[in-house]
């Protein structure tokens, strides 16, 4: 009997050991590999209800899915809207004011909780209460959203959701051609009802998506890991992803680029500028894993049209004449195309005519600029120009301040940390006179860019209309143009062009360039299969190790 017992114990031990070994083996086969993505600037907010920078969107759009989302593809194919948590694209009423969706069945959040139709209404309410920078897309379009924002209503009357059937109906105040694109914003991506209405960037709410954002160390790092509650083909068109991503914030772009060149890190954030000194090395040593990609983006200096001196048209025109856009392109290591129109190349409505204040590829007209300043009677006026610490944005501001000084104004600079820059200059109490700004397309419709010049988008905090433009002609044109569906934009292309030419002549903003950005990886990453998305930049779901 003792011998049998010993035999039994031995067998049991062997089986247990074999099981443990095989578990180890299978877990090592099923564990995802991790890549390191370096960012020069931390996201403004990782909370999807607040985030509005490219760094935030890049992580949020694969962790939080709305009724609609974008196809995971390069180029124009990536601007196509596909159903997200909704079963299909919306049914739109004939008057363009009613959008109807049905929620997919059986969806769960990353924490396992079921997704309900009423969560959509709560999500929109939350984004409004958090003062998301684009909340005017909701308050100006969805019936009852403005009343909710002002506190005169307890819910948004224009959103109806039935949890039993999964039906969601959205009533608009007037047809808005880009509304489907608005629903693809991470700010419209569903979070559970009852999620705290406060900035949860350090302790994120659950979402629906192939990834979850975890291990957030503010302004230092965060991880984007594959969600265990997401399976392949859960939502057609949204891939499951291949690798986890560790994001590290490295404010020194020299170090950032060097690490990727040396293969100590895997990806250089496309929104950062490659240091000029390293470019020749990258182009020669890493040509197979580096490319330059045009983006639909505009870089500009905002000019506060409500305070002196930029409330004076002559002063604004002087700035346009004085700005040397070729110089700003050089500060960006040659990654910029000098420009003057607000709607960039690649966006419907980009004007094809000549710039009203001179060729952006030619030398500036300083004499004319100085003459205009003298005529305005505002020579010697003090101007504070705001900028970020990140290079070359600080250098843009150094240059811009020197230009203002050279034409007769008295400019000083205020340079602040990147992560707080846009929330700071977007605070109306500060009332900044001038500063750096840029915009990358959120969706392929000019009304996205005109959020920045729309009087209705001015808000106390997280304001994006930094120039505080309130122009009746712009408002009347937007009232017509915004109604045109995205599928029919070509029919109004000329009208958008005319509006953009008008804005250029009014000089509300000093546009200086359209950006090209680097796609730059380590040798580990498969460069060819990695998608560069037209809206969100690097598509992390497409990253694979070689």
């Amino acid at each position: 009997m003792l011998k049998s017992l010993r035999l039994l114990v031995a067998v049991l031990l062997t089986v247990t050991l074999a099981g443990a070994l095989s578990a180890c083996g299978s877990s090592s086969k099923s564990s995802s590999s991790t890549v390191t993505n370096l960012m020069g600037t931390a996201p403004d907010y990782l909370d999807p209800g607040l985030g509005y920078t490219t760094q935030a969107a890049e992580a949020d759009w694969i962790a939080y899915t709305g009724l609609l989302t974008y196809a995971h593809a390069n180029g124009e194919a990536g601007t196509k809207l596909i159903p997200g948590v909704a079963q299909t694209l919306p049914t739109i009423s004939s008057d363009g004011k009613t959008y109807t969706f049905t929620l997919r069945k059986g969806l769960i959040y990353s924490n396992g909780a079921p997704v309900k139709a009423s969560d959509f209404a709560y999500t929109i309410q939350r984004s409004i209460k958090l003062n998301w920078g684009g909340k005017s897309f909701f308050t100006e379009n969805i019936a009852g959203a403005e009343a909710f924002d002002k506190g005169t209503a307890k819910s948004i009357s224009g959103i109806k959701a039935e949890d039993t059937t999964g039906k969601i109906t959205i009533e608009l105040l007037a047809p808005y051609g880009a509304f489907a694109n608005v629903l693809a914003f991470p700010a419209a991506a569903l979070v559970p009802t009852g999620t705290a209405i406060s900035n949860l960037s350090n302790n994120l709410p659950p979402g629906v998506g192939p990834y979850e954002i975890t291990n957030v160390v503010p302004n230092q790092s965060f991880s984007v890991v594959k969600s265990p509650n997401w399976s392949k083909d859960k939502i057609p068109g949204i891939p499951a992803g291949h690798v986890n991503v560790d994001v590290k914030i490295i404010s020194n772009t020299q170090s950032e680029a060097q690490q990727v060149l040396n293969n100590s890190a895997d990806a250089f954030d496309w929104a950062d500028t490659l240091p000029a000194a390293l470019l020749p090395q990258i182009q020669s040593q890493a040509s197979a894993r580096y490319s330059k990609n045009p983006t639909v983006s505009t870089f500009y200096f905002f000019l506060n049209t409500k305070v002196a001196p930029f409330n004076n048209q002559q002063v604004r025109e002087a700035v346009m004449y004085a700005l040397d856009r070729r110089a700003l392109s050089r500060l960006d290591s040659g990654f910029q195309t000098p420009a003057c129109f607000f709607l960039p190349v690649g966006m419907i409505g980009h004007p094809r005519g000549a710039c009203p204040f001179g060729d952006p590829n030619a030398a500036p007209n300083l004499a004319k600029a100085k003459e205009l300043i003298q005529k305005s009677g505002l020579a010697g006026a003090s101007v504070t120009v705001w900028g970020e610490t990140r290079q070359p944005r600080r250098e843009y501001v150094d240059y811009f301040a020197s230009v203002l000084n050279s034409i007769g104004l008295k400019a000083t600079e205020k340079i602040i940390a990147d992560a707080t820059y846009f929330p700071t200059v977007g605070n109306l109490k500060l009332n900044p006179q001038a500063g750096f700004a840029d915009w990358n397309q959120d969706f392929p419709n000019p009304s996205d860019f005109y959020l920045l010049l729309n009087a209705k988008s001015i808000q106390e905090t997280n304001n994006q209309n930094f120039s505080l433009v309130e122009d009746p002609h712009i408002q009347s044109e937007l009232a017509v143009l915004d109604k045109v569906p995205s599928t029919n934009l070509q029919s109004v292309a000329k009208r958008w062009e005319a509006l953009d030419e008008y804005v250029a002549k009014k000089a509300y903003v000093a546009v200086f360039g359209y950006e090209e950005v680097p796609k730059f990886f380590s040798q580990r990453l498969n460069f060819g299969t990695a998608i560069f998305h037209p809206v969100y930049g690097n598509d992390w779901t497409s990253w694979q190790l070689k």
Partner: protein, 346 residues
């Protein structure tokens, strides 16, 4: 006022004479004169002191150089301009953003920086800023430290307790971290104390920060010395004569600290210049577009190795200046205090 004096023989060969005529008097040499004599013999200290003075003069002449030699200003951007170097036309900033190196001509003598600004001009103006901040910070440090040290060391008891603990709180933070924290906060909003208002981009902001941060480093050794001095007989005598506390502190104690203070000044000046450069390097010191050696070093790092002059040149200037002040300071300390009782602990 009682000052301890040192008497040294002036007879050739030194030493006491074999016999002394009672009507002849031996002249005493004051401590300052003695110190000067010792310093004069220290050729290394004098050489480096001369180097420092040369740096100061050069920086003071920055406006002359900018106007008459380089024909530019420290903030003027020349990004798309071209210059002739060795018969060739060269871009000040290449289309890919690399600045030109030293031309060894009047324009861009030491090259251009990332904004196409003349490095030599910014170097001199940056030196003015760095030296100004260092000097003002040193003045703030010494004045506050003397007051705190005097009050602490003389009154002792609760006054010493409160002031020493306050100094301990400041001392507990590494100087650089404290400086960065204060610099970042004050750079945006400035300093507004009602009567005193300083703009965020003023040079006085880093000067005040550096000055305040270093107060404990000077106040503590001074306090220690004063604790010893207040037990001396001449203080008792002064009290017996009916002199008040303030008269004793500033009339009797302070003059005996003069040599210590003189020793500490150059050492603190070197520390202040270095701390300012560190803060500016980290973006918490001198605000753009004002030049500073620290800012220039920080901005030039991303151009290594393509345009290494942008970071190397201000680094060398900073090193030479601080070295000059430090060696001079060591010489002054050796001259006043050969037994080197006073040290500044960092």
């Amino acid at each position: 006022m009682a000052i301890e004096r040192t008497i040294e023989s002036e007879l050739p060969g030194g030493g006491p004479p074999a016999s002394v005529d009672s009507r002849r008097t031996v002249a005493g040499i004051g401590p300052y004169r003695l110190a000067w004599r010792r310093l004069r013999r220290n050729r290394v200290a004098l050489a480096f002191g001369g180097l420092f003075v040369a740096m100061v003069i050069l920086c003071l002449l920055a406006p002359v150089y900018a106007r008459d030699v380089a024909h530019t200003t420290p903030d003027a951007n020349h990004i798309t301009e071209q210059v002739k170097v060795g018969g060739k036309i060269v871009e000040v900033l290449s289309p890919s953003g690399i600045p030109i190196g030293p031309t060894w001509h009047s324009r861009f003598f030491l090259g251009a920086d990332q904004n196409g600004r003349d490095v030599a001009v910014r170097l001199l103006y940056g030196g003015r800023n760095s030296l100004f901040i260092g000097a003002v910070a040193t003045l703030i440090t010494m004045v506050l430290a003397v007051i705190v040290g005097l009050l602490s060391g003389y009154f002792r008891g609760p006054v010493d307790g409160v002031l020493s603990r306050a100094m301990d709180v400041i001392w507990a933070y590494p100087a650089l971290l404290l400086g960065v924290a204060l610099g970042v906060v004050l750079a945006v909003g400035g300093l507004n104390l009602g009567v005193i208002e300083i703009q965020g981009n003023s040079l006085m902001v880093p000067a005040v920060i550096v000055g305040v941060v270093y107060v404990p480093y000077v106040a503590k050794p001074l306090r220690g010395q004063i604790l010893g001095l207040r037990e001396k007989e001449f203080i008792d005598a002064a009290r017996a004569q009916g002199l008040g506390h303030l008269q004793i502190m500033f009339g009797e104690v302070l003059p005996n600290l003069a040599s210590t203070i003189i020793v500490l000044v150059p050492l603190m000046l070197a520390n202040s210049i270095l701390l300012e450069a560190s803060l500016s390097f980290l973006g918490a010191g001198v605000q753009p577009p004002n030049p500073s050696w620290g800012t220039m070093i920080g901005d030039g790092i991303r151009f290594i190795p393509a345009a290494i002059h942008t970071t190397l040149v201000p680094g060398i200037m900073l090193m030479l200046t601080v070295l000059g002040v430090n060696v001079l300071g060591d010489g002054v300390r050796d001259a006043f205090d050969p037994r080197a009782r006073i040290r500044v602990e960092r």
